[in-house]
Structure formats: structure tokens, C-alpha cells
Symmetry: C2
């Protein structure tokens, strides 16, 4: 059964700061991979998995509140239907039914997810919410035909041991994320990532049917590029600087910052590949990196602030208190205005796209 883990869901509800309204950066990456997903499903999924197949089960792991999850899932359904029509038109007595399992932590805002999806009369699948950490089992053995996860596994199950411990060589000082400036910190984060990603793959291996596909999309560093050289790393460091400014103003304290580090790690691509290859339950159908589709569009400061706010609010609130969120992101907006990001100067993260087939 699922393991417990620290959980800081995306901003709930649907107001101006919610994840629903501030997840278009992630959406762009999903859009960019849509063609690949379509081609991959058409080529790889075997609908003869079970001659009595009447329900096709899809799971999205780390679905948050939408709307990206609905799009990813619809894309998969469209392709399966197309393939099913081609292959089974004459044999099928009953139409294939779809059941979609939307998974996220138990404190995810499932109410908003359920209330914002299309009404059942306009939906061609039975919708289901699955509360639980995807770093453990959340679904029965052999029950899923296609699994999907987008922009999720950079969230670790917990802050790595010792990075918030002032006495440890792996202490992250007043940095708030793994910017790769401190070797022992990087190592601690990497160990945690490998453990978590390994657990993710192990759990999915049990949940997927033989022949089932697992699609994994996320963001990582190109090999050899440290986080502190990327514009994304720079924004995280700037958030840290804002917190330090707030400490000087007495809104928070240096001690609080020194005991804070995000449970988040952007691996280098070879690290992702390593974990996948280490698990022997899948064949790798596709594993590549692509540029983020918005790489050529200089992002506005507002867009960056809103995007970071939507995924950091819960965790900032928990550690620094309710009042800190507005102050922090106002500060961030100001700093970005004073020192705009020169996108040509900074290196960029890339999007990795992986399709696995359960042996």
C-alpha cells in the first residue's frame, strides 16, 4: 500500500493565483509532446492485450487540479479509439469503455478537479479520483493500460536528509533549492531522487498490465549543465534572495530560511535514464529530450512570478506562515523588474519525454 510522503499540492481552487490558471508553462510542454504521444500510442499499444477487453483503463499520476490532465488524457483516448477502430471494428460486439484514474496526494484539491471537468454527458470516459502518493502503490496490480505523468517527478517524496541540518556537511546554507553549488547537497538530493524515481517506476510496474505503456514527461538539466547556470535556477535563487530581504525586514528570520529547502530536484538527463534502465520491468520505446516550446519566447516577469507562485504557495505558507506568500511574490516581481532575466545569457532546462512498455 502507498507510502506516506510530504505533500505540498499546487495552489487549489480557481482564483487568479491558482494552479488551474497558472499552469500554461507546463501545458506548453505537454502540447509540444502531443504528436509524439499520438505516434507512440498508435505504434506501441497492443489492444489484443486481452480478447475480452471491454474497459480500457488510463491513469494520470500527479494530476493536480486540471486542466492539463484533462488534455493529456483526452489525447491518449483519441489515439486508442483510432487504433481500436482500425483493428477491431468488425470483431467488437460492445464499444470499448474508458475509465480514467486521476491520481494525486490526498490533500490535492479533488473537489475542484471534479467540478471543472466536462460534465459526464460530454465526456467519453468514467472519471475517478485516486488519493495517494505516487511514490507507492495507489492502484491494484495489472489494472492500468496506459499510465501518464507530466511535470511531477521533480517533486521529491521529502526534503533529503541533512540538507536542513546546520551541523551536516550536506547543509544547504541559506539556499532554498539544489542549485548544484554545494557538492554534498547535490549528492543528498540525487540520492533522494534516485530512490523516489525508482519507487515510482517499481509501483507503476506492478500497476500496469503486461504490454501497457507508461508515458513520462518532465523537465531536467542537459547533461553537464548545473542548475545555477539556468534561468530557472536563477529564479529559485532570486526567490531565496527575496526571503533573505524579508528576514532583514523582520518578516521572517535567517534561521527559518536556513532550515528550509525545497523537496524538488531537477536531475540531469543521464540520471533519469539511469533510474529507468536500472528497473528491468519495462522496455524503453522512446527516451529523448526536446526544447521547451516556450524557449524562444521571452517570458514576461508576470508570467514567471505567477507560475512559480502557483506551485510554491502551499510549501511557503506551511514553512513561513500565511502572511509570507503575498510579500514574497511581490518582492520577486520587484526584483525581476529591476533585474530582468536575459534569456540569451542563461542556459535552459530541457523537457524529457519517455515511453516505456511493460514487459
Amino acid at each position: 500500500m502507498p507510502v506516506s510522503s510530504q505533500s505540498y499540492p499546487m495552489s487549489s481552487g480557481d482564483d487568479q493565483h491558482s494552479y488551474i490558471r497558472n499552469s500554461s508553462y507546463q501545458k506548453a510542454a505537454i502540447d509540444g509532446a502531443e504528436k509524439k504521444t499520438r505516434a507512440c500510442i498508435l505504434e506501441n499499444i497492443d489492444l489484443q492485450l486481452n480478447s475480452n477487453l471491454s474497459t480500457f483503463r488510463i491513469a494520470d499520476f500527479g494530476c493536480s487540479t486540471g486542466p492539463n490532465t484533462f488534455q493529456a488524457v483526452q489525447n491518449i483516448i483519441d489515439m486508442v479509439k483510432l487504433k481500436h477502430l482500425k483493428e477491431n471494428n468488425e470483431n467488437s460486439l460492445l464499444p470499448l469503455e474508458f475509465q480514467v484514474f486521476f491520481n494525486d496526494q490526498p490533500n490535492n484539491d479533488f473537489n475542484t478537479l471534479f467540478r471543472t471537468q466536462s460534465p459526464s454527458s460530454e465526456r467519453e470516459y468514467f472519471s475517478v479520483g485516486v488519493p495517494g502518493s505516487f511514490y507507492g502503490r495507489v492502484l491494484p496490480r495489472n489494472s492500468i493500460h496506459i499510465g501518464n505523468t507530466s511535470y511531477t517527478t521533480h517533486w521529491l517524496s521529502k526534503v533529503p536528509k541533512h540538507v536542513c541540518d546546520k551541523k551536516s556537511p550536506a547543509w544547504n546554507k541559506n539556499y532554498i533549492h539544489c542549485n548544484n553549488l554545494l557538492e554534498d547537497v547535490t549528492k543528498a538530493y540525487k540520492v533522494q531522487f534516485i530512490e523516489d524515481m525508482g519507487a515510482f517506476i517499481d509501483a507503476r510496474a506492478e500497476e500496469l498490465v503486461p504490454g501497457g505503456l507508461m508515458i513520462i514527461l518532465g523537465q531536467c538539466l542537459p547533461d553537464g549543465v548545473p542548475m545555477y547556470e539556468t534561468w530557472q535556477g536563477n529564479v529559485f535563487d532570486t526567490v531565496g534572495d527575496c526571503l533573505m530581504d524579508m528576514a532583514k525586514l523582520g518578516v521572517t528570520s535567517e534561521e527559518k530560511i536556513e532550515s528550509f529547502s525545497l523537496p524538488m530536484y531537477f536531475p540531469q538527463f543521464s540520471e533519469v535514464r539511469g533510474v529507468i534502465e536500472h528497473n528491468g520491468s519495462f522496455t524503453i520505446e522512446l527516451m529523448e529530450t526536446i526544447s521547451h516550446p516556450l524557449d524562444d519566447t521571452p517570458l514576461t516577469n508576470d508570467f514567471i512570478t505567477s507560475t512559480f507562485r502557483a506551485f510554491l504557495t502551499t510549501i511557503v505558507e506551511k514553512h513561513f506562515g500565511d502572511g509570507a506568500v503575498n510579500e514574497l511574490f511581490n518582492q520577486l516581481a520587484k526584483k525581476l523588474t529591476m533585474h530582468p532575466i536575459d534569456f540569451k545569457m542563461w542556459k535552459k532546462q530541457v523537457v524529457y519525454y519517455i515511453v516505456l512498455k511493460r514487459k
Copy 2:
């Protein structure tokens, strides 16, 4: 796919007025039927349904926010495990896994449901939330082994046609529920109940596997007893009187009351039996009425007020506005104090208990 329907969920959250804290009347009936459920499952469920059975799927239709649903489901799991141990001990290579589908309307408070259930490490089933009206399909064909529903099907999918229409012979005047005083109103409610209960049974017939069990527990009138002769009917009528008092005080208006009638119907037992028998997809393993276990305990006014408030809040709020709820139930408490219910004088509803087996 599921049909749309009017939906007024039980009071959300877990504060003093929530359904979670005010559903012990319903719990008592479920407790009272527990032994029957256990015996019925042991006797009737066939675990050889499928020789490769590795996941046993249970659904609770109209689960609300808990905790009654967790108890009902655990009771079922305990019995299936017992039976499985007895029958399959030597044959099974892998332990049976359980997946439980908690169904309710999309505006049910699933967040509270997920956050109040035992942590996954202490739970022996995979938990899933299913948003949708149970008067239509909410799950794939042939996917459920045992279905359960407790205290749900007296909620109609909508207020019957014409009972709020002043020009119709089926107009319910200033009564707020079907108290059986007006023949045309009773007829309209009965037609709606038969349609809804029929749709419920039809949908479950598709969702259950052949050999699967459907357990239905609810409250009804003994044959020949009209609602207005029961203490429950009297409480509903008293709620209506309170609204009329509020109209006199200008807090609401008579027009508003005349256009209000609850989408709720307590059938006579023979009406329930009629609908079940009309659907030919099930064999009837058990169909009987039992006294409500609290029938011999005079209920306190506080208990009655809180119980009615927990299931009426949403609908009262929607029709009469936010402010009306407190006022209405304060009035009800006062009226019950001035005119305590003489439980010996009033007739009583009964609990019906039905176990069906999918042919």
C-alpha cells in the same frame, strides 16, 4: 454516461453541523444490518467468479463524506477476506487486492472524504472517488463485485414535475415534502421514485459482474402507513411550519415556500419491492424490513434538529439563501421544545434491507 441530476450534498467539512458529525441515525441502521450483511456475503458471494481474480472491486453509491461509508465497506471486506481464506487458501499465489469506489455527486465534498479516511498504510484497500449521479452509469460494465448503498435512494434525481407549479393539480401548496395528504402530489412523487429507482437498478445491473451482489439499505414506510402519520413526516411538516413563521416575520416569503418541495420520497415497502422485481437482471436473495435500532430510544430534540440540519442545509441554503439556515433550525429547535414529539403516539418508518445477485 451518467445523466445529470439535481444535487444537494450532505453538509460538507467536519464542523459541528457537518454530516460527518451528524449521521449517527443512519449509522445505527447500518450497524443494525451488519450481521445480515456478513451472513449474506458469506452465503452468496462466489469468489470463483473468475479464476484469475486478483482485484476485488467494491462500490459504495452515495457515500457522502464518511464515516458511515468506511464502516460499511470494511464490513464487506472482512467477510470477503474470510470467505477467500476459507476457499482459496491453497490455490492463491498472490493475495487478493481490494479496490473501493466511493461514489457521490460531483459537488460532494470528496476532499473531506479523502482526508478523513485512514492513512493508506493502515488501510487494506485502494481507495478511489467516483464523481457522478448514481441514477446513471458511473462505472464501466462488469467491473464491480459488490455494490452497496445506504440511505441514499430516498433522494430523487429531481423535484417531480408540477409539484411546485401553482397551476397544477399536483401542486404541493405550502407543504415542503410528500406527506401523502394530497393524492396528486403523492402520485407525482411516486412516478419520479419509480423512474429513479428503476434507473438506479438498471445502471447497477450493467456495472456489476455476473454473480456480483448489490446491497441496498434505506428507509421506507410500512405498507398502508402514510408519511403524515409518522414522526419523521411530522418533523418535515414542522420544518415547513417554521418556514411559514419566517415568512410572517419577513425573513422569507410565502411565494418562496410555495415553490419549494424537497426532492425526497419515502416509498411504501411494496413500492420498493415493485421496482426491484420489475428489473429482471437480479435474483432477490433477501428483501425485508427491520425496525430502526433507535426506535426504542426516545430521540432528543437536539439530535433530531442536528440530523435534519445536516442533510437539509445545502438545499435550504440554495432556495432560501445563506441566512435562512441558522434561523430555520433555531426555530425548529424551539418548536420541538414547545411541542416535544410523543414517540408513542406517532407511527414509525422502517428500514428496508435488500440483497440482490446479478444473474
